[in-house]
Amino acid sequence: MPDSIITLEHVTRTFLVKRSPIKAVDDVSLSIRAGEIVCLVGESGCGKTTTGKMIAGTLPPSSGTIFYGGQDITQLSRDQFKRYRLGVQMIHQDPYASLNPAHTIQDIIAAPLVHHGLTRGEAATRKRVRELLELVDLTPPDDLLDKFPHQLSGGQRQRVSIARVLTVNPSFIVADEAVSMVDVSIRISLLKTLTKLKEQMGLSVLFITHDLALAKYFAWEGRIGVMYLGRMVELAPARQLVESPQHPYTQVLLSAIPEADPQATRRKKHIQLRSMDVPSLLRLPTGCSFHPRCPRFEGESCQQAVPQLVEFSDGSAVACHPVQRERLADRVRR
């Protein structure tokens, strides 16, 4: 993992639900390079948000190791830990809940600057706040400085959240469903702003979403990881994952999504699942946890052994026994 900024090695997170342990994230390994965009997709409860929180350092893993710039985050000194927490920032889903309604935009963005001593004096702080607002395309900034969050649209608020995150010069941003609550008509412009920032500042982004089309658009040059019941089932370059999905779960997901083209969407073949019931995390199926629903179920091997994520020569990684058997020759040997 040279030049990786965040690396997860066999990370698991267990929660207690009514005194029984459930694995929200199970044995996930992932390495994200500087300047890379990785999208995590999956249905609700698949562990994508928990993964994001562990990367941002707001939730410790139950087992496994997270590395920041090559160092185990549990072994960091006080100063190093502070640098890590500042370096990895999170943008939340709901811009109506994540900004203090009683503070002006100026106050909201100035607070971290002052707290961390990043600017000297009031004039410098005001200047920096203006710069940050311009950076997130909230122009002219003077129109917004003295406004309160309720006077802004959802899209503008989410831009303020982004500006606030940028105050501490992070190198990594975890964006958890960051555009799901803004109107479809302005999502793209928010993503364009994020892309621009990523390019200007060399940021890495972990973008968590349930929308595969959006993931493909945003991660264009990056990768998409698909999670199912806490495990990473497929990880591949974005366009490749959408255009030639390998894992049966990814294939089912993609086949289920309607297209904005009446003829194409009505002709589209939907892969049928063997069962519509999503297993409970409390009673996960044995072996591959997708096997009771999987259209490619092949009997014993799927029921017995948990498939590991195996890398192939085309850059994809898939956790599925039938796929791995089929592509035996393509496996990347380490």
Binding site: S185, I186, I188, H210, A213, A260, D261, P262, T265
Partner: protein, 342 residues
């Protein structure tokens, strides 16, 4: 053949502290028998108000300031309506009959719409009792038939409480329940929002199947364009309380003419699409209390010119069944393409 629903010059206003909110402004459209019509647009465009207006379930701050709503019920296999109902003239108890028996609505917060302390069987029985519908054995058979139509196992669901069912199952129970009294018009407000992809697919398939089995027209409100592409026969784009474009689904997606519809479609990433094609619509929807002059879309429209700022265009028929409210409809598609290339 006469339509199931005719909406004529309907306007709906809300009283607010700052003034009158013009939520729906002079809207006219028909829904044909058995047809699926989608209302698309951004949040705050008035889609839900329009849906609520049709069943007259508007909050008390709202008034229907003008217009007419006519619903027609057809007997089996007949082309002319057996009954015509002027919805705006209905008295309270007539309204109670109209709702659900003629026109049912499934709300956006559908997952919370079931009574949490009643078993599914009791929710169906309550509805049947309130409307003097079937009872006993007959009722149970009808309900189980409906549950099977929405792909639920009656054995599993009938005696369950809502919390024992998943979101997708509850949504399907509600769709079955809404069809209990054989309405000929069903209004669905964001039927798949907040559901996971595979559950959404299931609901879409269930709705498609229901339409082949039962005789009802459908109005569904959605901000998800691909849902409209998949389910609708006709699509109406709503902006600032007005229908700005209405056409069959093919035309809306392949030859849309209003700059707002063009903008909406260009703003949504698709699985097959190329990256360069996408652009957001600049600005945000207008304040419905203090609407801009002229065409309400002009502050965000790349083609706006003097006349757009002064006069509001009305819907006009640009080809058979395709209506657009834009002064520049003749050239809008080409001009916007040229504009984007720049």
């Amino acid at each position: 053949m006469q339509p199931t629903l005719s909406v004529q010059n309907l306007s709906i206003e809300y009283r607010a502290r700052r003034g009158q909110v013009q939520a729906i402004r002079n809207v006219t459209f028909d829904v044909q028998r058995g047809e699926a019509m989608a209302l698309i647009g951004e949040s705050g465009s008035g889609k839900t108000t329009l849906g609520l207006g049709v069943v007259r379930l508007l909050p008390s701050a709202a008034t229907i300031s003008q217009g007419s709503l006519v619903y027609r019920r057809f007997a089996d296999g007949s082309g002319s309506p057996a009954r015509e109902i002027d919805v705006l003239k209905l008295k309270t108890n007539q309204l109670r009959e109209f709702r659900w028996q003629e026109c049912a609505m499934v709300f956006q917060s559908a997952l919370n719409a079931l009574n949490p302390v009643l078993r599914i069987s009791e929710q169906f029985a309550d509805t049947a009792r309130a409307h003097n519908y079937l009872r006993g054995r007959e009722l149970e058979e009808r309900c189980q038939h409906l549950l099977r139509l929405v792909r639920l196992d009656p054995e599993r669901v009938w005696k369950s409480f809502p919390h024992e069912l998943s979101g997708g199952m509850r949504q399907r129970v509600l769709i079955a329940l809404s069809l209990l009294l054989e309405p000929q018009l069903l209004i669905l407000d964001e039927p798949t929002t907040a559901l996971d992809i595979l559950t959404q697919r299931n609901i879409m398939d269930v709705l498609k199947e229901l339409r082949t089995q039962l005789d009802f027209a459908l109005i569904f409100i959605s901000h998800d364009l691909s849902l409209a592409a998949e389910l609708a026969d006709r699509v109406a784009t709503v902006y600032a309380g007005k229908i700005v474009e209405i056409a069959d689904v093919e035309t809306i997606f392949m030859a849309q003419t209003h700059p707002y519809t063009i903008g909406l479609i260009n703003a949504v990433p698709t699985l097959v699409g190329a990256k360069e094609d996408l652009t957001s619509i600049p600005g945000s929807p207008p304040d419905l209390i203090d609407l801009p002059t002229g065409c309400k879309f002009h502050p965000r429209c790349p083609l706006a010119e003097a006349r757009c700022r002064e006069y509001e265009p009305e819907l006009e028929e640009v080809s058979s069944g395709h209506q657009v409210a834009c002064w520049n409809w003749r050239t809008a598609r080409e001009s916007i393409q040229a504009f984007e290339v720049e």
